[in-house]
C-alpha cells in the first residue's frame, strides 16, 4: 500500500534504507530542480505555486506565502528525507534520480513519472514493467484542511512575454503547438501530455500505457476526473525568476548551510526585490 501521508512516506523510506546493501528508501532531485520539488511537493502542504501570488508577492509580510509556516514545514521535512537517499543526492537532477530508481536501488522516487517510462527500456532499466508504478503523492494532513489538487501534471503553458514585439505571431504559433495533432505527437515523443488534457481520454493514452507497461495515463485520467490534477508551472512569465532564485537559495538549506526558515526568508525577500525591479 503506498504511503498516504508524509509521515508514512518517511517510515517506508527508513525501512528500505540499507546502505550496506546499496539500497535506499527515497530519492528526489534537489540538485537541478529543488525549485520544481518546491512547486510540486509543497502543494501537498497546502501551499500552491510556492506561495507566490498572481499579484507577484512572495513574503508573508508582503502578502505571499513563500516563507509561511507551511513552506518551512515542507522544506524541513524535505531536507530531513535526505538521510534516506543515496550519497550524492544533493547534486542529483531528474535524470540521475530517475536513473537510480531504474537501477532498482531506490524504493520510492519523487520524480516526474514520464522519466519512469524508461522502465520498458532494458538498456537503461533493471526494473521490468510491472515492478514499478506511479501513485499519489502523500499529503501533510495538518495543512490540507481545504482541498487543493496534489497531483502535478507536467503539462505546460505557452506564455507570450509582455515585452514581445510580435504578440500575434507568437499567439498563432502557440495555437499551432497546442493543436490536437501536434499535441498527440508530443505525447508520443515525451511520454506525457503537454497541454491538451483531452488526450488522456484518447486511444493513444491506453496504447501507450500498454506499450510502456505502466499505469501512468490511466492514473492521470483518474486524477483529472477527481479534480486532483493541476499544472502547469506558474502561468506567468516571472515564474522563471522565482524558479531561478529558488534553485540558487534553497540548496543552502539542503546541505545544511542555513536553516529552512533562513533559506525561505532569504528567497521570499529576493523574489520580492526581483519583482520590484521588474516593475511589479
Amino acid at each position: 500500500m503506498p504511503p498516504k501521508t508524509w509521515k508514512q512516506y518517511r517510515d517506508v523510506a527508513e525501512f528500505f534504507t540499507r546502505p550496506k546493501d546499496d539500497l535506499y528508501g527515497h530519492i528526489a532531485m534537489p540538485g537541478a530542480a529543488i525549485a520544481a520539488d518546491f512547486y510540486e511537493n509543497a502543494q501537498t502542504y497546502g501551499l500552491p505555486a510556492r506561495g507566490f501570488t498572481v499579484a507577484r508577492r512572495a513574503s508573508v509580510e508582503n502578502g505571499g506565502l513563500m516563507n509561511s509556516e507551511r513552506a518551512i514545514a515542507w522544506l524541513t521535512d524535505y531536507c530531513d528525507l535526505k538521510q534516506f537517499g543515496p550519497p550524492g543526492i544533493e547534486s542529483m537532477g531528474w535524470e540521475e534520480a530517475a536513473g537510480q530508481f531504474l537501477a532498482g536501488r531506490v524504493a520510492m522516487a519523487i520524480v516526474w513519472a514520464d522519466s519512469v517510462a524508461e522502465i520498458s527500456n532494458p538498456s537503461v532499466s533493471k526494473l521490468k514493467p510491472g515492478q514499478a508504478d506511479c501513485t499519489w503523492l502523500p499529503i501533510e494532513p495538518k495543512y490540507m484542511l481545504f482541498h487543493i489538487p496534489t497531483i502535478y501534471g507536467d503539462m505546460g503553458t505557452y506564455c507570450i512575454a509582455s515585452a514581445s514585439r510580435h504578440k500575434e505571431a507568437a499567439f498563432i504559433f502557440a495555437q499551432y503547438l497546442s493543436s490536437p495533432e501536434i499535441q498527440a505527437m508530443e505525447m508520443e515523443q515525451m511520454n506525457t501530455i503537454c497541454t491538451r488534457v483531452s488526450l488522456l481520454y484518447s486511444t493513444l493514452a491506453s496504447e501507450m500505457d500498454r506499450k510502456l507497461g505502466w499505469n501512468y495515463f490511466n492514473f492521470m485520467k483518474t486524477a483529472w476526473n477527481l479534480g486532483e490534477l493541476y499544472g502547469p508551472e506558474i502561468a506567468i512569465a516571472e515564474g522563471a525568476d522565482v524558479y531561478d532564485l529558488a534553485n540558487r537559495i534553497l540548496p543552502k538549506a539542503y546541505v545544511g548551510e542555513v536553516t529552512p526558515k533562513q533559506a525561505l526568508d532569504e528567497l521570499a525577500e529576493a523574489v520580492d526585490a526581483r519583482m520590484k525591479e521588474l516593475g511589479w
Binding site: G31, I89, E90, A161, D241, Y254, V255, L278
Partner: protein, 283 residues
C-alpha cells in the same frame, strides 16, 4: 598612396573594433542603465545605481573572496607541484619523452570534457574514486561537503594546468647557463644550495609569469565549475564567473547589472596584472 598603410590595416582595425572595442563601449553604456532584457519596462538611465548596488551586494563580495581564495590556493599548488615536475624533467632519465608526452595530455582536453569526466569519476554513488576512498575508510561526497567540493576544484585546476606550469618553469631552468651550475658545484654547493641560491633566483621571471597567468586563469574559471558543481553545494563554489553567468544570462537576463559585475571583474584582473608586471620589471 599616402593612405595605403591605413587601408592595409583597416580590416584588422575593423575586426578589433567589432570584437573588442564595440562590446566594451556597449558594456560601459549598459552598466549605467537599468536594462533587464525580459522586463516589460523600457531601458532606463540610472547613472551609478548598478555600481552602488554592486558595492552593497553581499553575494558579490562573497563570490569575489571565494574566487580570490580559489585562485590563490590553486596557483600556489600548481607552482609547488609544477616546480617539482620541472626539476624531474630537467634531469635525463629513461622514458623521459614518454613521461613528457603523457604530462601534456590534459592541456589538449577541453574544459567542458574535463568537467564531465571528473563528474563521472567523482560521483559519490557510482564513481571509482569515492569507492576507493571508502575502502580506505574515508567518506567522499563533494555534492554535500563544501570543503571537498572546493578542494576538488583546486585539484582539477591543478591537473589541467600543471603541464603548462611545468613547461614554463622547465624552460627557465634549461636557459640557466651550464657554466653557472658547474662552477657552483666546484665551489661545493649542495643540491639545496644550488636550488635556493642559483636556480630559483635565475628563474624568477618564469615564476612570476606563471603566477600571473595561472592566477588570472584560475580567477576566471567557469566551465569545469559549472559542469562539476554548478556553484554548489549551497554556495561553496559559487565563484564570480558563476555569479556573473547566473545574473547576466539566466532567466530575467539583467544585462545592466551583469555587465557592471563583468567590468569590475575586468578591473581587478587589470590591476593585478599591472602590479605583477611592475614586480617582474623591477626584478
Amino acid at each position: 598612396m599616402k593612405f595605403r598603410p591605413w587601408i592595409l590595416v583597416l580590416p584588422a582595425t575593423l575586426y578589433l573594433f567589432l570584437i573588442d572595442i564595440a562590446p566594451t563601449i556597449f558594456a560601459l553604456w549598459a552598466s549605467f542603465q537599468k536594462y533587464i532584457l525580459l522586463s516589460p519596462l523600457p531601458i532606463e538611465f540610472v547613472a551609478f545605481e548598478n555600481y552602488k548596488k554592486l558595492l552593497n551586494d553581499v553575494d558579490f563580495w562573497q563570490s569575489f573572496v571565494r574566487s580570490l581564495t580559489f585562485a590563490s590556493l590553486s596557483t600556489i599548488v600548481q607552482l609547488i607541484i609544477g616546480m617539482g615536475v620541472a626539476f624531474i624533467l630537467y634531469r635525463d632519465f629513461k622514458g623521459k619523452n614518454i613521461f613528457r608526452t603523457i604530462l601534456v595530455l590534459p592541456l589538449g582536453v577541453s574544459p567542458i570534457a574535463i568537467g564531465c569526466m571528473w563528474k563521472l569519476m567523482m560521483n559519490p554513488l557510482m564513481g571509482p574514486v569515492p569507492w576507493i576512498l571508502k575502502q580506505l575508510g574515508f567518506t567522499f561526497n563533494y555534492a554535500a561537503i563544501s570543503w571537498q567540493a572546493f578542494g576538488l576544484l583546486v585539484l582539477l585546476d591543478t591537473w589541467h594546468w600543471l603541464p603548462f606550469t611545468a613547461i614554463v618553469l622547465l624552460s627557465g631552468l634549461v636557459s640557466i647557463p651550464k657554466d653557472t651550475i658547474e662552477s657552483s658545484e666546484v665551489d661545493g654547493a649542495n643540491v639545496l644550495q644550488k636550488l635556493l641560491h642559483i636556480q630559483l633566483p635565475l628563474i624568477t621571471n618564469e615564476i612570476l609569469l606563471v603566477t600571473l597567468m595561472r592566477f588570472m586563469g584560475s580567477f576566471q574559471i567557469f566551465d569545469e565549475v559549472w559542469m562539476l558543481t554548478t556553484g554548489g553545494p549551497g554556495h561553496a563554489t559559487r565563484f564570480l564567473s558563476i555569479l556573473l553567468y547566473q545574473t547576466a544570462l539566466l532567466y530575467s537576463i539583467d544585462v545592466g547589472y551583469g555587465v557592471t559585475i563583468s567590468l569590475l571583474y575586468l578591473f581587478f584582473i587589470v590591476i593585478f596584472s599591472w602590479i605583477l608586471f611592475k614586480i617582474i620589471r623591477s626584478v
